[in-house]
């Protein structure tokens, strides 16, 4: 019996078109755009100026606050300008434009492929290296990882969970990373275990990746304390609360964090980035991105430097399909729709999906037929139809009492709704309004 989370969940068609495509290194662009706000928290403040010459791995912008992260240059070249431009968020944000010249790396970075499994650094040293390297959650959340590694006083970390689930349809970047860089991922896991001072780690992988499970199980024999856990295929198994429930059968209390049940969760991509940062002194400057879609000629997985324009990646897949009707950054359930492909890849971009015209159009909304399917698929045990009604009528107190803040925005409710109601649109609105009300109340 495969482990799974009990409540809710849907089964969208997997469409893992690029599952067997090995990772290709993307070409360097001519002009790179590195946004300053690629993570949750305050955008980083630039430490370079127009005209400066930078090398790969050099610090471009400093973390500016408790919840913030460093940004390093993924390219060598000259800083052209620091200006606002439309980025993956859909809004105009400040970014550093670099005219790419050559591929000069900082001498401190180890560019070889040799596996380095030994590490003599202490827990705090590992955490500060992670912080310096500007590593953020690469599953898409982009939360600065070093914060999760510094356990607040009064709480204790017992277990590390590595999220190799990749429950979103179409995305295969984590899958390929586990297949091709399995050892590095496991070393990264051990480094994270050391940083948290825990002796046990589980890597959760959905059962639709049997090759990755098999491969990692064999490799994990050499790594003490690391166990691979195959999980039943169900969306949203990759949500951290659902992952903790499935693997450890612990429920994170409403309004609390995983650390409150003694768990810290990191994505496999983050574990790999930690390996590179700690063992190879390489800051976070590149990541794996899946470019896919039913009309894309060659769905592929790329190793991309941050700041590469998305158009270049799609061209490398055989060109932008003629009938493209929607562009999504991330997965189809929680990803963000883009206005155009002229945006740079940033730390949180796990995939670029291209939908054709038919798939792109949202069906017309009908009145709620009270079927109750949204209630039965919600993994957080909420009543989406009710939350949408409260939000439409601006009844914020009732929204708060119905636990709208617990919604993880997975989209299962809207996916399954027969009447195509925009449930999640309104629930997001109520979350932001109620969040604002709660913040002003606390002051």
């Amino acid at each position: 019996m495969l482990k799974t989370f009990k409540r809710g969940g849907v089964h969208p068609a997997e469409n893992k078109l690029s599952a067997s495509a090995p990772i290709i290194t993307a070409e360097l662009p001519k002009v790179a755009v590195v946004p300053l706000g690629q993570h949750i928290g305050a955008p980083a403040s630039p430490v370079v100026n127009k005209g400066d010459v930078v090398k790969v791995g050099q610090l471009l912008a400093q973390s500016s606050g408790f919840v913030s992260a460093n940004i390093h240059s993924p390219f060598s070249g000259t800083i052209a300008k620091i200006e606002e431009t439309i980025d993956i968020t859909g809004f105009s944000r400040p970014a550093i434009f670099i005219n790419v010249e050559g591929d000069d790396w900082l001498e401190t970075i180890d560019r070889t492929d040799i596996l380095l499994a030994e590490c003599n650094l202490s827990a705090t040293e590992i955490t500060s290296k992670v912080k310096e390297a500007g590593i953020v959650g690469l599953g898409g959340a982009t939360f600065p990882s070093h914060i999760k590694l510094s356990v607040p006083p009064g709480k204790m970390a017992q277990v590390l969970l590595i999220n190799g689930v990749e429950c979103e349809p179409y995305l295969t970047s984590d899958h390929r990373l586990m297949l091709e860089k399995g050892d590095e991922v496991l070393v990264g896991t051990q480094l994270l275990m050391k940083a948290l001072s825990v002796s046990k780690a589980f890597i959760g992988i959905e059962n639709n990746k049997p090759d990755a499970i098999q491969h990692l199980k064999i490799l994990a024999k050499n790594y003490i304390g690391v166990e691979i856990v195959p999980l039943k295929v169900k969306y949203p198994q990759g949500g951290e609360k659902q992952l903790i429930k499935a693997v450890l059968n612990r429920e994170v209390p409403s309004g609390a964090l995983p650390i409150d049940v003694g768990v810290v969760v990191h994505n496999v991509g983050t574990a790999f980035a930690v390996y590179e940062a700690v063992q190879k002194n390489k800051p976070l400057i590149e990541r794996i991105v899946t470019v896919t879609g039913k009309s894309v000629k060659n769905p592929s997985n790329f190793k991309v430097r941050i700041g590469t324009p998305a158009t270049q990646l799609v061209e490398a897949c055989g060109g932008v399909p003629e009938d493209t009707g929607k562009i999504v950054s991330g997965g189809p359930m929680m990803g963000k729709a883009l206005k155009s492909l002229d945006v740079p890849v940033s730390k949180g971009v796990s995939g670029i999906l291209l939908f054709n015209g038919k798939e792109a159009k949202r069906p017309i909304m009908e009145p709620c037929i009270r079927c109750g399917k949204c209630v039965s698929v919600c993994p957080m045990g909420l009543e989406p139809y009710l939350l949408m009604t409260f939000s439409e009528k601006q009844m914020w107190e009732s929204s708060e009492m119905s636990h709208t803040m617990d919604c993880m925005e997975c989209g299962s409710c809207m996916y399954t709704c027969p009447a195509n109601r925009p449930l999640l649109d309104y629930i997001r609105l109520s979350k932001s309004t109620v969040g604002q009300i709660i913040r002003t109340r606390k002051q």
């Binding site: 439309i86 859909g90 809004f91 729709a337 155009s340 159009k361 925009p422 649109d425």
Partner: protein, 292 residues
Amino acid sequence: MNMTIIYTILSLSILGGISAVILYFVAQQFKVVEDPRIGDVESMLPGANCGGCGFPGCRNMAEQLVKAESMEGLNCPVSDASVMTGIATYLGFEATIQEPKVAVARCNGTCEHRPKINTYDGANSCVIAAVLYSGDTGCSFGCLGEGDCVVACKFGAMYMDPLTGLPVIIEDKCVACGACVKACPKHIIELRNKGKNSRRIYVSCINKDKGAVAKKACAVACIGCGKCVKVCPFEAITLANNLAYIDYNKCKLCRKCVVECPTNSIHEINFPPRKAAEAVMENHNENTIQTN
């Protein structure tokens, strides 16, 4: 006369009498003592409970007025001047006359002037669209056209024009309560003086991008050229962040800026049509700009 009837009448009358006495004493015991003026002031207010004064309902506004030391900051925007002067006299205050205001939507980005560059498919709410991205046109400041302002208006003074995609404010019905101002996530709507003879002039744009970027997105955007600032004899126009703004208290409705604006971004409302000579001047200005 049947004795039953007499007994019935007697017993019911005695019961009624006892209840009346009990009720009287209980009412006296639990009486809420409040200033009798609150009820009077409340009856003078319009009773729409629209919240335009900033307080929850006319009763609350009456309480505030009676409690206050002066009429400073207390104004019912939906009633005319006589109401506030009446209340001021009743309470023994000095009345401050407020200029009547009206809501103005400062965007002229119609489907013709501001072409759409993508299709918005989400829920029909401006707030939701505003949180998602910078809009379905090249201007990230302009009206999103989903009508949150129309829904917010409780006086039926707004509707969405299907041809232009912009909200229309019916000035006779608008009471300047400010609900639409709060509802608009782009802060396009502003409460401005209704003006003498209901005439007013305003810059119908809030785009803060550089001139070239703004003009590329919308043909009638304010490009921040500053010509209006120079020509205004009353120093009523200021330029900040590539955007001109007319101070409605200083504006004397001379209309010089309207003619001067190269993109026709400044609007004049309820003015008579111009004489022929002025129209020629206006055309001349437009032609000059285009040949630059």
